[in-house]
Symmetry: C2
Subunit: 431 residues, 2 copies
């Protein structure tokens, strides 16, 4: 397909949905992307660029001439257009803004004026609003006669004379009402109103919690200035959940499409922190080198205690990080859940203590060695359970993202406690 048959490529691309074209571009090698953009110049839908991963998008936009970029930007809804140009450097941004119509420019500049990751960036400025004293008939006539309507809308907002939202009418309800019915009779009062500076995570939470399809956005004075629709929120929900999973492992959100050097750098930082942890653990082991020299079985067995603690701690911290993200863990149930974690880790600790104790005894034929590793196992698993819950909660309270920092702290704790408990007990009991 690629390389030679450009006409065939153009035909093929024209049949695809913009999201699929974006996926196709992401799959291509960097060199191929330039060729692809050159070959499809002028026929690509503006939506394609919205669906691209950030890193790939930045690269692809470089291949477009400023006037092409301006055409793309004009074709998009305000929220999508802002999303597209927000990460450009200032010179490029100014070039694009200079090339679009004055109205578009004003809209884009306003959009860029809102903080990143806020409701203002997500919202669409085009919306339908009517006064409450209108009838359905007036509203339908207004919709039929106005040309400049948004592409998509799910409800009609009702505003007071000062343009503050006081209610909304879902389209399906408007459609099944007779012409003389007043808007005020069928509107739903008190829609959930989003302040323009609300964080996008909070917006996503509200949409999820109340199953909204769209919600009005107001400025500081309470005037209706935009609307957020569910399709924008779907992306954020998926992004947020995806972010946590990657952060727990210490990789960046766009690890997959980033360059080798940039990916290596982010991963290096995380590994460096973990090296610190590992060296700390080694220092603890070093305290007991004389003990190990006498009983070399200790060196053979010690990773078991640390590794089981690490895994148990990771289980608890993952559940906790997730529960904080979904707001299932609150101050009201924290103590109860901590108690539950304590019980779980105590039960599992005892079970694995017996298991590992027997294995160690059978392997080296020293019953006391089995006893030492069993006791160390119980201590480390309980500490793992408790710290797996307390560390992310404490980080969250300090406004540090628990997904990023928790696992370093917890595995440091379980490594140190694991080695110290096992080797320390051995030094006391076996020598």
């Amino acid at each position: 397909l690629e390389r030679h048959d450009m006409a065939g490529l153009v035909d093929y691309v024209q049949e695809l949905h913009s999201a699929d074209i974006a996926d196709l571009i992401e799959q291509l090698h960097s060199d191929e992307r330039a060729t692809f953009i050159a070959a499809t110049r002028g026929i690509l839908d503006a939506e394609v660029f919205i669906h691209l991963d950030e890193i790939v998008r930045d690269e692809v936009l470089e291949y477009l001439r400023p006037e092409e970029l301006a055409a793309v930007v004009s074709e998009l809804d305000t929220d999508d257009a802002v999303y597209l140009i927000e990460d450009m450097d200032e010179a490029d941004q100014r070039e694009v803004l200079a090339a679009v119509t004055p109205e578009d420019r004003a809209a884009l500049e306003e959009g860029l004026g809102y903080g990143e990751d806020t409701a203002g960036r997500l919202m669409q400025r085009d919306l339908i609003s009517v006064p409450e004293f209108w009838t359905i008939g007036q509203t339908i006539d207004y919709l039929r006669e106005t040309d400049d309507l948004p592409d998509e809308f799910y409800e009609i907002f009702v505003v007071d004379p000062r343009h503050r939202p006081i209610g909304s009418v879902p389209l399906n309800r408007a459609m099944r009402s007779k012409r003389p019915v007043r808007i005020s009779e069928i509107m739903e009062a008190e829609p959930r109103i989003i302040p323009v500076d609300m964080d996008q995570e909070e917006v996503a939470y509200i949409f999820k919690q109340y199953r909204l399809t769209s919600a009005p956005v107001v400025d500081a004075t309470g005037r209706l200035i935009g609307v957020i629709t569910v399709d924008d929120v779907v992306e954020i929900i998926e992004e947020e959940a995806g972010e946590d999973i990657l952060r727990l492992a210490g990789v960046a959100d766009d690890d997959l499409f980033d360059t080798v050097l940039s990916t290596t750098r982010t991963r290096f930082t995380w590994l460096l922190v973990n090296l610190g942890t590992a060296v700390l653990a080694s220092i603890v082991i070093g305290l007991f080198d004389a003990t190990m020299e006498q009983v070399i079985a200790l060196a053979v067995l010690m990773p078991i205690v640390a590794s089981m603690g690490g895994n148990a701690g990771t289980q608890t911290l993952t559940v906790t990080v997730r529960a904080i993200a979904t707001r299932d863990l609150t101050s009201a149930n924290a103590l109860r859940l901590l108690n539950k974690e304590f019980l779980i880790s105590l039960i599992n600790g005892v079970l694995f203590a017996v298991l590992v104790g027997l294995v160690a005894w059978a392997w080296f034929g020293v019953p006391l060695l089995g006893g030492v590793i069993a006791l160390a196992m119980i201590i480390n698993m309980v500490i793992a359970g408790i710290s797996g819950m307390l560390v992310p909660m404490a980080l969250d309270r300090l406004n540090i993202d628990p997904a990023i920092a928790s696992s370093v702290f917890v595995t440091t704790i379980t490594d140190i406690v694991g080695f110290f408990a096992f080797l320390g007990l051995a030094a006391l009991v076996l020598l």
Copy 2:
């Protein structure tokens, strides 16, 4: 609030949204939940039960009498009602089905007939469909005169005489068209059609990819039998992303609300598998006990090599698991990404080899020891990068969920390679 002032509680609950009431019930202790349900008997909206976590829901539904349960079920849309009763045991299910009206019963039985986690379970059976030769005027009159319309709908489906979907008209487009306009003139052809037995993950993917708000569902003969709306899909998207993060750590999806015993059991299984890994690693260490007895520094340093490999492997496998879930990793770019992983792990491997080599040399004053640990580090980090990518890909090809099994395999590999490379090289070089 709780305990005594039941009247106050009732007032408070009546002001809350059903999703917030569900959260409140989840926060309560088990005993309190029974009291809460008793106190709010008859005033709780049926939607509350839909918002509850599965484990809590099962518990709460036990407190309801069969006729109350039937009332709840009748109040809900078909998809929500099926969702509510699908997990009940058969006797309870039969009781509920016996207590609802015959039409509801038929709808529920049909819903339960579709496989779990398929489009059939998600879809709503009530929908609006019109023939393409109707005019907007006829459609509006039909909507105004029919009482039994679905609560919410976003588009009108257009069907052929055999009731197969041939297009759709978004409500906003219908509203702004004049009465004499024919449906066929304004409909969008070829909507994305969902077969009733499609897996819900696939459904969620299609909604995300094409930013749909609703899509028609057809049976095996192509007849339109239902519609899936975006609000159901939002939940699945969040569920799926949440599942992966928990599965990577070996905990169950409803770990948070499950009982201590049941949680302990799932976590035990995972830890047992990891114990196997740890013991394997110890066996590898045991091969070199004589070497360690001579150079005890090896025992002190060896966890560093294994732990860095484990962390690097986890980074790669997390990115890979996520990329498989979001379908960003395909056979087309797998080789290129593998090459990238190889480069990243080689670069980081060399950097950490130098770092750790210098630390070891400085610590124990033996230059050769630094060389050995440096070489082992490079080997283990490269193996970690490659296996972190190949293991999840292989599991995915074998239709095993890579989120569940990858990390055990990868850490087993990095532990064994780490200890074997370091101690083996040491045995060769230092003795």
